[in-house]
Amino acid sequence: MKENIRRKLEITVKILRLKAKQLAVIAKEKEDVRRKLVVTAQALRLKAKQFKVIAKEKEQIRRNLAITAEKLSLKAEELGLTIAKKKAILASIGDAVMACDKEGLVMLFNRKAVELTGFSEKEVIGKHYNDIIKFVREVDNKPSKDFIAQAMKTGQKTTMADNTLLIRKDGSKVPVADSAEPIRYTHGALVGCVVVFRDITQEKEIDKAKSEFISVASHQLKTPATIISLYTEMLLKGTGDLKQKEYINEVHNANQRIVDIINTLLNISRIEMGIFSMDNKPIDIIAFLRNGINELRTSLKEKNITIKEEYHQPQHTVLIDKLLLTMVFSNLLSNSIKYTPVGGTMSVKSQEVKKDEKVNNNVIKEDSLLIRVSDNGCGIPTDSQDKIFTKFFRSDNARSKHTDGTGLGLYIVKSILDHIGGHVWFWSKEKKGTIFYFTIPLKKLKSRSQGDRRSSIKSRQKEYIYMQSI
């Protein structure tokens, strides 16, 4: 029994030992695994650390990239703006601009070029300029010298010959002036050519008008010069005393005509050049009108003309250049006397008019003083009425009555009134008479003295007509 128990115990011990051994092995294995795990963990930790660093680096790069991207987009925007600005500048240039590359193909065609030639940008870009833009000489309609090719060939700026016409898309012709300038990179290589051209129709017209003015002006001087030359020839040949006086008188009159023409021409050029200095001073316009009429009293008496004067006030102070106003009034007045028959009637009338008021179909533009000079003379023929303010124009009936007019009087009247902000118009019927109206703006009168203003308000409240006849 005991033996049995001992054996059992021995077996148990053996089993236990075995178990212990097994356990030890397992433990060892576990320890191994643990160790490996530790190593792995360590490795992992290391990797993690590395990843972190990389991630950080990447983040930095990303950030940098983002900044760069932002910068780039800003730059792009800036660039876009610059391009748009440049485009806008090119488009807004008042002259037509066309640029072509060195082969002559059009790269740029601005808005004004489109407008002037009638070709759209699409029709032109990429084509050879010679196939689109045609310039001809005004004299013979032959193609003008290819100044664009010349500019590219010589590398020098070239200008188009004078009197060149541009043929537009619709075939019509426009006088143009222009230049071609080669385009170069900074190191000097030729890129192409930029051509600038503009419509000079207006300049041409002005130029023509100026030449005509000179031609007509010298023609005006030829007649009195001829008169002087022929009468002095008669005098030198010798004539009787009576004739002698008559001839000297003719010479004197012709010379006076020359002097008048020269003075008139000088006044015109002064007005046109704008060097007519305006010397605005307060003057009593009513006294001024009366005085102007009085100065012509002799001519009025000679022709036995009755003149009626009607003024809105006994006196009215306005700020104006007296000399300029004298030229206006005396021109109109002496015209009336000239073309009114012996025993005829004239009238001079003054009146204050308000803005938007209508006087003889003419709307008053601002508060003004209106002067009216009328006569029952020969009148202005209907077909001449739109031309009477034109320089040197004289109607047939005026020419047949008075051959010595210059055709400059009404032109001067209009020029002066334009200059001082006034206005002139007329009503006329042939063989019935003419009424000239002119206005002087009253807005400058605000600087009048207190007393003067009061008196003018008073007189406006109680308007009366001051009449005087001879």
Partner: protein
Amino acid sequence: MRFPIPPLLIIMINDKKQTILIVEDELPLLKVYADRFSDEGFLVLKANNGQEGLDLAIKEKPDLILLDILMPIMDGLTMMQKLRENTTWGKTVPIMLLTNLSADEKKIKKIVNENGPAYYLVKLDWSLSAIIEKAKMAVSSH
């Protein structure tokens, strides 16, 4: 007893006064041309414009016409053309065109050449005595 007729009188009898028509709108010029031509023994007719000139020419048939160009109502060139076209007498009367017109000279010269016998004189360049000489020549060669 018969008296021989003095030679001068023969000339006066045979050679009746030449008539000149002056058409000019500038009165001082009209007067000085007229005075000088009467001094030279011409019978002078005066008109102030082309229309008056045409009427007077057709009525009086002068031997010579002194004609201004730039005139109101009817200018000298028109008057000349009307005279040449519409009357048989007018086709051959010598016309001296007087002007100070400087532009369109080509056009005027062309019309003058087509309407002979006609002469084109620039006022400022021609003295009275030169005009008289030219007028006498024009009348005698007619």
